[in-house]
C-alpha cells in the first residue's frame, strides 16, 4: 500500500501477510471439511488442478478473472484516493445492458465491438456521476450513495431486462449480443475470450495513470494526506470527480467484457445470476491485491482459480462449491488486520521510527471510512 515509504522490506511484509491470510483461509476450509467428513486433501488437489492444472483449467481461471480485475480496479482507484467506492456492482449491471443495447442495431464487427465498449464505459461513468457530485457538493459519504445506487441500478436493470431488452423468443433473458459484437474466444473449447486482454490493458492503463501522471500523483496524495494535499493546491472536487468517473469506466467495462465474452449465451439473464456479485467480489480481489494493479491481476487470477477449481472440486470430491466462499471470506477477514504479521510473530515488536509510524496511522485514518 504505502509502497514508497515502506520500500522493499515493506512490500515483502505485505506479501507475507497475504500469504499468511491465504494459508489461514485454506486451513479453516480444511477444518470445516474435516468436521463434515470430507477429505480436504482430495478436495484441495481437485481445487488446485482445476484452477491451474492444465491449459483448459487455467483458461477458465483467467475467464473468471477477467471482470474481477476491472471491478477491483474500480475500488482500488477509489481507495488510492482515500475513498471507498463500492459502486462497481450497480455500474457493471448498466454497463452490461448498455453493451447489449448496441446489438439492437446492425453494425460491422470492429465498430460494433468498439461501440459496445464505449456505451458500456459511458453507462458506468454516468452511474457513478451522482456519487461524485453528491460527495463533492454535499459531502454525502460514498458508501451510502453507492449502496443506494447499486439497488436502484438493480431494479432498473430488472425492468430493462424484462421489458425493454427482452428476447422475444426467450423471455428469460435479454437479446444476445450479436455475433459481430462478441469478443472472439482466445482458447477454443473454454470460456476464455479476448476480454482478458481488455482487462489487462485496463490494469496497465490504471497503473500508468496512478503512478506516471500528475493527476495520478494528486490522487494518491489526496489519499495519503488530504489536508496536506489541499494545502498544496490540489482541488478535492476534481479528484473526487476523476476517481469516480474512472472507476465507473472500469466497472462498466467489466459488465461489457462479461456479456460480450462469456459463452454460451452472451446475454443477461433475468435476475442477473451471472453478473450479480462481481462488484463485491472485485472489492475482495482489490483488498487481496493490496489495491495495486499488479497485485490485483494476481489476486483476480487467484479468485478466478478458486472458482474454476471449486467446480472441479465439486465434481470430483463432491465438496460443495460454496466451500470456496468460506476460504475467500476467511482470507479477506484476516487481511483486514494490518498487524497480522505482528500477531503471528514470536519476536518482539521491531522498533519503527516514530515519524514512519505516525505517517502510517495517518495514512490509514485519512483513507478509511
Amino acid at each position: 500500500m504505502q509502497d514508497r515509504e515502506m520500500g522493499f522490506a515493506g512490500r515483502i511484509e505485505e506479501l507475507n501477510k497475504t500469504v499468511i491470510a491465504g494459508v489461514v483461509g485454506f486451513a479453516v476450509g480444511a477444518l470445516i471439511m474435516i468436521l463434515y467428513g470430507y477429505d480436504p486433501i482430495s478436495a484441495y488437489t481437485a481445487l488446485f488442478s482445476g484452477a491451474f492444472g492444465d491449459l483448459y483449467s487455467f483458461s477458465e481461471s483467467l475467464a473468471n478473472a477477467t471482470p474481477l480485475i476491472l471491478t477491483a480496479l474500480t475500488f482500488a482507484i477509489g481507495f488510492r484516493g482515500g475513498m471507498f467506492n463500492i459502486g462497481a456492482e450497480g455500474q457493471l449491471y448498466l454497463g452490461a445492458l448498455a453493451a447489449v443495447t448496441v446489438s439492437l442495431f446492425h453494425l460491422p464487427s470492429g465498430i460494433g465491438i468498439a461501440l459496445s465498449i464505449i456505451f458500456a464505459i459511458l453507462a458506468g461513468a454516468i452511474w457513478s456521476l451522482p456519487v461524485a457530485i453528491l460527495k463533492a457538493a454535499r459531502g454525502v459519504h460514498e458508501v451510502i450513495s453507492t449502496i443506494m445506487l447499486n439497488w436502484i441500478a438493480q431494479f432498473l436493470a430488472f425492468y430493462l431486462i424484462a421489458k425493454i431488452l427482452v428476447d422475444p423468443l426467450r423471455a428469460e433473458k435479454t437479446i444476445s449480443v450479436a455475433e459481430w459484437g462478441r469478443l472472439p474466444l482466445l482458447v477454443p473449447g473454454t470460456s476464455l475470450s479476448c476480454g482478458i486482454f481488455v482487462s489487462l490493458f485496463a490494469a496497465i492503463i490504471i497503473y500508468l495513470l496512478l503512478w506516471r501522471t500528475t493527476i495520478g500523483f494528486d490522487i494518491r496524495a489526496m489519499g495519503y494526506n488530504p489536508l496536506a494535499a489541499t494545502y498544496a493546491g490540489i482541488e478535492k472536487w476534481k479528484i473526487i470527480l476523476f476517481v469516480f468517473i474512472t472507476g465507473g469506466f472500469t466497472a462498466g467495462l467489466a459488465g461489457a467484457v462479461h456479456v460480450m465474452g462469456r459463452p454460451p449465451t452472451y446475454a443477461v439473464y433475468g435476475g442477473m445470476p451471472s453478473i450479480k456479485g462481481l462488484g463485491f467480489e472485485g472489492l475482495a480481489v482489490a483488498m487481496i491485491g493490496r489495491n495495486h494493479p499488479i497485485g490485483i491481476i494476481f489476486a483476480a487470477i487467484f479468485f478466478g482459480g478458486l472458482l474454476a477449481g471449486g467446480r472441479m472440486m465439486q465434481l470430483f470430491s463432491q465438496v460443495p462449491l460454496e466451500m470456496v466462499r468460506v476460504v475467500e471470506g476467511t482470507v479477506v477477514l484476516f487481511l483486514a488486520i494490518p498487524e497480522l504479521i505482528r500477531f503471528f510473530s514470536f519476536l518482539r515488536k521491531v522498533r519503527i521510527p516514530l515519524t514512519f509510524r505516525i505517517k502510517r496511522s495517518q495514512n490509514k485514518e485519512g483513507r478509511q471510512l
Binding site: A27, Y269, G271, S274, L315
Partner: protein, 398 residues
C-alpha cells in the same frame, strides 16, 4: 521477522496435512457399474419439486442399477457451461443429465464439442444426435388443475383463482397457457351443471425469482385479499411461501382446513399443510424422465432426440391417491413432517377431497380422457408473443 510468519505458515499446512491424511478412509468401495452426472441450475436443490424430483429419479436409478450419481450445483449462471463441459471432459460419465431450461445453451455447446458423450436435458430441446431432450406437456396437466380450480372456486363462492409464477421462461408459459384454458373449460363445465357461468377470473404474477420465498408469500396474500380461492404454485420453492400465506388466512378464519387451497407443482405436494390445504398438485414426472434415461443408458437403448411426456404417458397429471404416500417420503426427508403424521395427513386429505362434490371430480376426469384421446387440444405458448395471444383468447378478467 521474515522467517517467523513463513514458519507459522508451514506449521499450519503441516498440521492440516496430518489431520487430513488421518481422515482418509481406508475402506474400498464396490466399484460402480457406471456414473451419471446431474447438473442443476442456480435454483438448486431444496425446492421440494422440480430439482428435487430430478434427484429422486436419478437416485432411484442409481440404486436399482448400481450406478454412482454425482450432483453438480451451479452457483451462478456462468457455471452452466463449465459444469457441463467439465463433466463431459472427464469422460467418466455414462450420462450427463441437465435439469432445466436454463442449461440449454450450455448443453448445446458441450454436445457439439463432445459428440461421443451422452446428454439428456429436461424442459428443453437441443437438436443433436447425442442429446435426449425430454419435454413435458405441462399445459395438459395445468388444464386439469385449472378446470378443477375454477369449479372448486365457484363451488365455494370465490370469484378468482390465482397463479404465482417464477421467471418468464418458455416452460412457464406452458403452465400459464394450459391453466387459462382449464379455467375457461371449468367455467363452462360449471355452467353446464349449474346453469350459470361463474366467470371465475385469474390473478397471476411472475415474481421473477425461483428462490425468494417471501415473494411467494406476499404475492399469494395479495391474491387472497382479492378473493382468490385457489393459488397455483408455478415457482418451485415459492410454494412454501404460498402455503404459509394460505395457512395464515385459514387460521385467521378460525379454521384448520381450506378453502382457500394451494395447488402444488411438479411433485405431489398435497401432503404439505397437514393434508388439507393443498387440494391437488400438477405432477410433472421429472423423476421418471431421469430414471428412464438412466435405464436406457444401462440397457444400451439410449437414443438422442425428442421425448414428449404428456398426459397419455403419465408424464404429467393431477395428483391422485397412490402418489400421496410416495411423496410424503419427500416431506419426511426434508424434516417438514414426521412418519407419525402420515395417517393423520392421509385422512385429512381424503376429507378435503370428499368435500368437493363428485361431479367436479368426474368433470376433471372427463377432461383428462378427452385430452388423452385427442378430442381436446390444449393451447400452448413458447414465446412471449404466443403467450400474449393465449392471454387475449382467455382473458379471464372480471
Amino acid at each position: 521477522m521474515k522467517h517467523s510468519p513463513k514458519l507459522t505458515g508451514i506449521i499450519f499446512v503441516a498440521v492440516v496435512l496430518v489431520i487430513g491424511l488421518a481422515m482418509i478412509p481406508a475402506v474400498a468401495e464396490a466399484a460402480p457399474k457406471g456414473k451419471i452426472a446431474v447438473v442443476l441450475d442456480v435454483g438448486g436443490r431444496g425446492d421440494l419439486s422440480f430439482n428435487d424430483m430430478g434427484y429422486k429419479g436419478t437416485d432411484k436409478a442409481a440404486a436399482d442399477f448400481g450406478l454412482q450419481m454425482v450432483e453438480i450445483q451451479s452457483a451462478s449462471a456462468s457455471d452452466y457451461l463449465p459444469n457441463v463441459r467439465n463433466a463431459a471432459r472427464s469422460k467418466s460419465f455414462d450420462l450427463i443429465i441437465s435439469v432445466g431450461f436454463l442449461l440449454t445453451d450450455a448443453v448445446a455447446a458441450a454436445a457439439k464439442e463432445y459428440p461421443d458423450q451422452k446428454f439428456m436435458i429436461i424442459d428443453s430441446v437441443v437438436e443433436a444426435p447425442n442429446v435426449m431432450s425430454i419435454v413435458f406437456k405441462e399445459n395438459e396437466g395445468s388444464a386439469l388443475v385449472g378446470a378443477l380450480a375454477a369449479m372448486v372456486a365457484a363451488h365455494y363462492g370465490y370469484p378468482y383463482v390465482g397463479a404465482v409464477l417464477g421467471i418468464e421462461i418458455p416452460v412457464l408459459f406452458h403452465f400459464e397457457a394450459g391453466y387459462r384454458f382449464g379455467i375457461d373449460w371449468g367455467n363452462k363445465a360449471y355452467a353446464q351443471e349449474k346453469d350459470t357461468n361463474p366467470n371465475t377470473g385469474l390473478l397471476y404474477t411472475y415474481t421473477g425469482t425461483f428462490s425468494d420465498i417471501a415473494k411467494g408469500k406476499e404475492a399469494t396474500k395479495a391474491m387472497l385479499a382479492q378473493k382468490a380461492g385457489l393459488v397455483y404454485n408455478v415457482a418451485g420453492p415459492l410454494g412454501i411461501g404460498d402455503l404459509q400465506a394460505i395457512t395464515e388466512d385459514i387460521k385467521a378464519k378460525g379454521k384448520e382446513a381450506g378453502p382457500p387451497f394451494m395447488i402444488g407443482v411438479d411433485a405431489n405436494q398435497d401432503w404439505m399443510g397437514d393434508g388439507h390445504r393443498v387440494l391437488a398438485s400438477m405432477l410433472k414426472r421429472v423423476d421418471n424422465a431421469c430414471y428412464n434415461a438412466s435405464e436406457a443408458v444401462v440397457k444400451g437403448t439410449f437414443k438422442g432426440g425428442l421425448v414428449v411426456m404428456g398426459l397419455d404417458v403419465q408424464g404429467v397429471g393431477i395428483s391422485k391417491d397412490p402418489d400421496l404416500l410416495d411423496f410424503m417420503e419427500f416431506g419426511i426427508g426434508a424434516g417438514k413432517i414426521t412418519a407419525a403424521d402420515k395417517t393423520k395427513i392421509v385422512s385429512n386429505w381424503k376429507n378435503m377431497r370428499a368435500q368437493v362434490p363428485s361431479w367436479i371430480w368426474n368433470a376433471v376426469a372427463d377432461l383428462e380422457k378427452q385430452i388423452i384421446s385427442g378430442k381436446i387440444s390444449v393451447p400452448n405458448a413458447n414465446t412471449l408473443d404466443e403467450m400474449k395471444a393465449v392471454r387475449s383468447k382467455y382473458p379471464l378478467k372480471r
